[in-house]
């Protein structure tokens, strides 16, 4: 039993060691991430079906998306992925203040993403480039241009909601880091929030070229 006593933090009695406990928690997180992938896959399928049906409309309509702002947001999200990964590493090497700084930086970048998204959305609302029956814009040739904006707002809107939930989760691990609840031996919640944040980045990596960069 000596090896059990060496595990110094929070090993529940039904796990043989901290390693198994940590892997179990991460397996649960990965299963959750898979349900997220499947949730988005429905919308990606809608995208594929409508783009295959109306290729010209998609090409004409996507020209009204701002590639500059889309690229800016891609850079912002990739940078935030780097900062949260480095923040979790800082906990692993026991640099708490550095971790706090990096988590705050991640939150600032996430907020910047939403601000850019707000400007894009308000511009489209102003022009009437809205989903379904709310579509009043007349400058796009091709059949059913409102479908492109339905797909655009559903995909980026669901992704934007995930950014908001991600910010809440990062705030939670930030507070727990400030309260000194994590150590190089125990930081599973921070690691799982990191996984969630990377998944949100990963989904944007596909959304960006599919919506903003149609050939």
């Amino acid at each position: 039993m000596e090896h059990v006593l060496k595990q110094d933090t929070h090993v529940a009695h039904h796990f043989s060691d901290a390693e198994q406990q940590r892997d179990s928690a991460k397996l649960g997180m990965w299963i959750f991430l898979i349900t997220e992938v499947l949730l988005f896959s429905g919308l990606f399928t809608a995208y594929a079906v409508y783009r295959a049906w109306h290729p010209e409309t998609f090409i004409n309509a996507h020209k009204f998306l701002n590639v500059g702002l889309g690229t800016l947001n891609t850079v912002v999200l990739i940078t935030s992925s780097v900062t949260i990964a480095l923040g979790i590493r800082s906990i692993q090497v026991n640099r708490r203040k550095q971790a706090i700084g990096l988590f705050i930086a991640t939150l600032v970048l996430a907020a910047a993403f939403l601000v850019v998204k707000y400007f894009e959305y308000s511009h489209k609302t102003h022009l009437g480039q809205l989903p379904g029956k709310y579509y009043t814009f007349t400058g796009i040739e091709g059949t059913d241009p409102q479908v492109f904006f339905s797909v655009y707002f559903l995909l980026t809107g669901l992704h934007g909601l995930h950014i908001v939930f991600g910010m809440a989760a990062i705030t939670w691990i930030l507070i727990r880091t400030i309260n000194n609840e994590f150590s190089p031996e125990y930081f599973t919640p921070a690691e799982n929030v990191g996984l969630y944040w990377h998944l949100v980045d990963l989904i944007w990596i596909f959304l960006f070229p599919l919506l903003y960069l149609i050939g």
């Binding site: 397996l27 299963i31 594929a48 990963l202």
Partner: protein, 115 residues
């Protein structure tokens, strides 16, 4: 088991992967302005796939963690591709059964009437 316990990735690896992701973002934007026809989509998806792999392997630690995570995640992506491909078999071959023409949505087809 001990080798993936608390794997600590060097800062330089994170920065290099982040740099590679930014370069690939630049490449995918640049390529989108070159007209390659249908290959624009292929190239965009290949670059996105490469970026996603970098994020998964290094940021999400799939390279160092228990291989079970990478396995189940890959299986979910396999099912997503089955989902999309089988639906496209349907929606892209409906012309073979009846003539499919996109038409503007008529007022009578709306469930909720506009104000």
């Amino acid at each position: 088991m001990d080798k993936h316990k608390n794997h600590i990735t060097p800062v330089s690896t994170y920065l290099k992967v982040g740099g590679a992701l930014l370069v690939l973002t630049g490449v995918t934007v640049a390529v989108s302005f070159v007209h390659l026809g249908p290959f624009n989509l292929v190239v965009a998806l290949l670059i996105a796939g490469a970026k996603a792999s970098l994020v998964g392997l290094f940021f999400m630690h799939l390279l160092y963690d228990n291989k079970l995570f990478a396995t189940i995640f890959s299986i979910s992506l396999l099912f997503v591709s089955v989902f999309i491909i089988l639906i496209l078999f349907d929606t892209l071959t409906r012309d073979a059964i009846y003539e499919q023409k996109a038409q503007p949505i008529k007022a009578t087809q709306l469930i909720e009437k506009p104000n």
